[in-house]
């Protein structure tokens, strides 16, 4: 069997209720339903999660790491967005 005609899916797992889904890897499958079952078999064999998301890799729009410099540049020169930028005297510093 070849994986050539199978679609690529990205797998996201919520390890515990209340937490975000985290990306854990990818797999090939015929359709979303099959991808979900594969994901269960591949990625949650040891109760790693309570919820799985599968998303067609082709549907993911991603930023390019090569462009990171110019992409994030607008926030690099704004240290005042950080709490630590504001120096307060010790007695009132815990806010």
């Amino acid at each position: 069997m070849t994986t050539e005609n199978l679609e690529l899916f990205e797998v996201f797992i919520r390890s515990k209720r209340g937490l975000d889904h985290k990306h854990v890897g990818s797999l090939h499958a015929e359709d979303p339903a099959q991808a979900l079952e594969y994901a269960r078999d591949c990625y949650t064999r040891r109760s790693e999660g309570v919820s799985i998301w599968v998303v067609r890799s082709a549907d993911i729009v991603a930023s390019q790491e090569d462009d990171a410099e110019s992409f994030y540049d607008p926030s690099d020169d704004k240290p005042y967005r950080h709490a630590t930028y504001y120096q307060l005297p010790d007695p009132v510093n815990n806010m």
């Binding site: 704004k78 005042y80 967005r81 504001y86 120096q87 806010m95």
Partner: protein
């Protein structure tokens, strides 16, 4: 209790979060929609009093800081609208409810920011009070709301610190500047206390919200926390405390304080604050003026879709040929 209800209550009792696709009682869903959308509206309407000062900030540094803060608040609105949408209500419905007055937002934003000192008092006291509330809500029972709160709390600390730093600068300045700081403190202290809502005994939604762990601490407990932490901050600025009855109670381990003017609280909630009408009018005006952007986006999407369909049609024609 149905098995569904039992399962729901078991999750609540064992501190498991409720997630969007879980079964939940209709009243729980409604209660959450009311609270989270109100919270979202507050973030967005709250940009008005401060936004008013962006062009008049006294230095480039202060202007950049204020701009960054207002930008954060708009972002908080987005996180919270998105969290509300997971409960099956649309953005349009929420905006409509805000604009026709059926949804509320925090009353504090119906007070005007009249002086530069007010910008400091808002960051220090209004964001300070919001933080006390939001830290507690990080443990709320609805997953998307709890995660939005965690994200928001990480961003809030700078808001309070820049406000306090601004006040500190005024208090170390000329007598006129210090008087301005005192005046802002006097006007914003009581409304900040009102942000925690009515006394527990008077609060309409509280009991059920606590039972469902939507709220984790009572209005009065949260308010007490804020009162306690603010005393030494006022002292350090060298300002006079607006509450003349403030007094340390050794036995309770808390400050005793004077009574809030509840008539003012209900008057502002019921639409008779300084800026109620202005805030909504401004929101409606900006929303309408922005409609061309939404229309342009929709037109662009249509065009892209048509272009894609055309390309696909051409391709299959070629294949046939």
């Amino acid at each position: 209790m149905t098995p569904e209800e039992q399962n729901f209550m078991r999750k609540i009792e064992t501190e498991e979060k409720i997630e969007p696709k879980d079964w939940m009682p209709e009243a729980y869903r409604k209660n959450l929609i009311r609270q989270i959308s109100q919270h979202a509206h507050s973030e967005v309407i709250g940009t008005q009093p401060e936004g008013n000062w962006i062009t008049r900030a006294p230095s480039l540094r202060r202007k950049a800081v204020l701009l960054a803060k207002v930008q954060d608040e708009a972002g908080h609105g987005l996180y919270l609208y998105s969290a509300t949408e997971t409960l099956g209500i649309s953005r349009d419905e929420m905006i409509a409810a805000l604009q026709d007055g059926s949804a509320k937002y925090a009353s504090i934003f119906n007070y005007p920011a009249q002086t530069w000192g007010d910008v400091g008092a808002i960051g220090w006291l209004v964001d300070g009070a919001a933080i006390v509330n939001q830290v507690s809500l990080q443990r709320t029972s609805y997953g998307p709301y709890a995660r939005a709160m965690i994200r928001i709390c990480k961003e809030e600390s700078f808001h309070q610190r820049q406000g306090y730093e601004l006040m500190l600068e005024l208090c170390r300045g000329t007598p006129e500047q210090k008087a301005m700081a005192q005046d802002s403190l006097n006007r914003f202290y009581w409304p900040a206390l009102m942000m925690f809502g009515p006394h527990d005994s008077e609060s309409a939604h509280s009991a059920r919200s606590m039972q469902w762990k939507i709220k984790r601490e009572s209005n009065d407990d949260l308010r007490q926390k804020f009162i306690d932490q603010t005393v030494k901050q006022i002292e350090f600025l060298g300002l006079e405390h607006p509450d003349k009855a403030i007094c340390w109670n050794e036995a309770r381990g808390h400050y005793d304080s004077g009574e809030i003017d509840w008539d003012e609280f209900y008057a502002v909630i019921n639409g008779n604050g300084h800026c109620n009408r202005q805030r909504l009018q401004h929101h409606i005006k900006v929303h309408e003026e922005g409609s061309w952007v939404r229309e342009a986006l929709a037109a662009y999407n249509e065009k892209q879709k048509a272009r894609k369909q055309q390309a696909e049609a051409n391709k299959s024609n070629q294949n046939v040929a």
